[in-house]
Point group: C2
Chain length 200, copies 2
Amino acid sequence: MNQHEPLLILASGSPRRRELLSLLNLPFDVRPSDADERTPEDWEPEKIVTELALRKARVVIDDRESEGAIVIGSDTIVVLEGQVLGKPADAEEAAAMLRLLSGRRHQVYTGLACIQHPEHPERTLVGYSRADVTMRPIAETEIAAYVATGEPMDKAGSYAVQGLGAVFVERIEGDYHAIVGLPLALLYTMLARLGVKTLA
Amino acid sequence: MNQHEPLLILASGSPRRRELLSLLNLPFDVRPSDADERTPEDWEPEKIVTELALRKARVVIDDRESEGAIVIGSDTIVVLEGQVLGKPADAEEAAAMLRLLSGRRHQVYTGLACIQHPEHPERTLVGYSRADVTMRPIAETEIAAYVATGEPMDKAGSYAVQGLGAVFVERIEGDYHAIVGLPLALLYTMLARLGVKTLA
């Protein structure tokens, strides 16, 4: 990468997203976005994650200090039979979500937005990645012990596929990194379209 | 975990396996195994990875210092249309493997063995996990740049799904952690059968 490449800014406070982005070996800054994450009840999962990814990136690109930079916004939700599961409010809600996910297949949607110039539509890219996750049946004692570790508390769906939660995951179909929170293959493609060469 | 639980020993020098095992929050030692990894030409992938996982674990459990411990052996291979792809010998071979994988779906097999008492068959557990990985078409310039990073050199199939190689991976079907090198859900089940309580 030469020094004329635009600065990358990750509009997220998530340590998982930061870790994944660092796999691309490109320098980047982190500026967590305080975008409003409320959405209308009737939005489909694809719309929720793409709109929230855009909102998060827009809040940061509107900042004067971000001029010329590429801002990356991302949003992840877990969906079980049409019901959106967000982050749990407390341990009790985390346990309830894990009971819902136990022995079933759910979907993880992650929206991704890369914005370079908000006024130029061709410099605003947005998309999403979806993966199916099948969990084995989880015993009540396992749920209690897992919730007690604290791992579920800041995760959509109350589990971390990249953590101890992996022991509940029987199978995934789709993009693993979208489940963790940042679809790397999609991001690579978007950055290439904006002229950022990650490889070569 | 109480202090009467048996010691876990990882019979592998792989930093990826070490990192994955540490997700279980159990104390463990690492003792890389120097088992013979040659196998007959006519073995099926399932047989190669289960036998090599057993061999690796047996070399370590035969050591007197391992008495009473649970030794974990694991072996991963990449298979493309029946052809086994190991670790590349050099940059040229790495590039050739990536050309083979480009735009196609391949399989990753990881064998797992947990041995506590080699003379007690019920204390020797072995199994494997398989996943399908679909790669997008990869350009020659991308292959050259990726090989130049050095990442492919110690990886079966010449890529790391948990590294920059992620940008080539379109889709996976199966156990993600088996692709990285240690099937955590299977390991958790085996450890539970040997009386090790990871959760609860």
